[in-house]
Assembly symmetry: D3
Homo-oligomer: 81 residues x 6
């Protein structure tokens, strides 16, 4: 009876998308459920998967919100670091 | 100091509703808080209850999103399985 | 397909117990599952309940760990506050 | 590699705001990340912070939703309790 | 920057094991991280996976703790249902 | 009524410790609670903090369990990368 919670930032990662698409969600659900079946023998019917999308400004890393973090990374790359 | 997190799919289960109603939320909060008082002696004031509604396509079971899962169940029932 | 997560401090609340007892856990599971059936029509089989016990020193309230918080409450009571 | 999840009710606590502001979120992310660095030596880059805002009627305390709970507190104060 | 939380009951699903094995945990971590890379382009380094094992008596389904639930399922099967 | 959940790997980060110490836990609880007071005006008494320690092999990053991930980082550093 596994329970899997997947949190991702709300943003488009597929062409033209501004959020996780229904196809991507279905692929995550299928992939995780089959993984638990393959690795631990958990029947597909007994696995719950809950996907939560989190606004970019609500997700922090490196001590700053994600948009600021990525901006810094890009600047570091530009400076050859 | 219990903390209770309840996750449900966002859909109407009361007549005419398209989401969990305020009355249902209040009933869940009351019921869970009183349960913790009855079973474990936890004062009502010390229990937090957080209800989260999850979009149907973000909740997976049986390896597929909930709408697809329910569709399959209905088809199985129709076929007398 | 509700998912309910109940977090409580690890301590005895039944006579002679030093942790939540199996009977208390079963009562919480039964009570929460029936609540979701009564309030929202969720079938018992579709509700997962996960109970997690948290060490007293890992749970904070009032800016301090629970044992310290309770000690302060008792002192306030003794001083007639 | 700490992971911190902060849940607050969705309401304005800054002047004129109706929800947590971007500045407040950035301050929470900065503060928590620096706390984990100071107390446990965790590098800023290895800490994830996820802030979730919960509708007032979805958050229960004292056996009732938050708006009802606060109304009761105000009434108790008015009555000199 | 995905965060994935996997909760399973603490029990052996590999031959001779009484809990999830280190190999199974590594396979879950690898599988989920690669899934997020494949489906959403998330770099492996930016995905956190946290596996939590929950005692059988702390996990409820069907309104009862897991051991009782499975006992009922076995009895139903024996009775040809 | 904020709720804060802090997950860290179970390991010693203070001299001689093999897990998060009681002092570190108290410092995290105090720091987070005061942060929510400073940034959002949340009273100390209304903030719950729950600290969870996760076994190293249960925490994955970079597609592998934490011990393996750190070993790789050390090897990369040794090779001047």
């Amino acid at each position: 009876m596994p329970y899997v919670n997947i949190k991702v930032t709300r943003e488009g990662t597929a062409p033209g998308a501004t959020a996780t698409t229904a196809e991507q969600k279905a692929a995550l659900i299928k992939g995780v459920s089959e993984l638990l079946l393959d690795v631990m023998g958990k029947p597909l019917n007994s696995t719950f998967v809950v996907i939560e999308e989190v606004e970019m400004e609500n997700w922090g890393v490196g001590g700053v919100p994600t948009p600021e973090y990525r901006k810094r990374l890009r600047e570091q790359e530009r400076q050859g670091k």
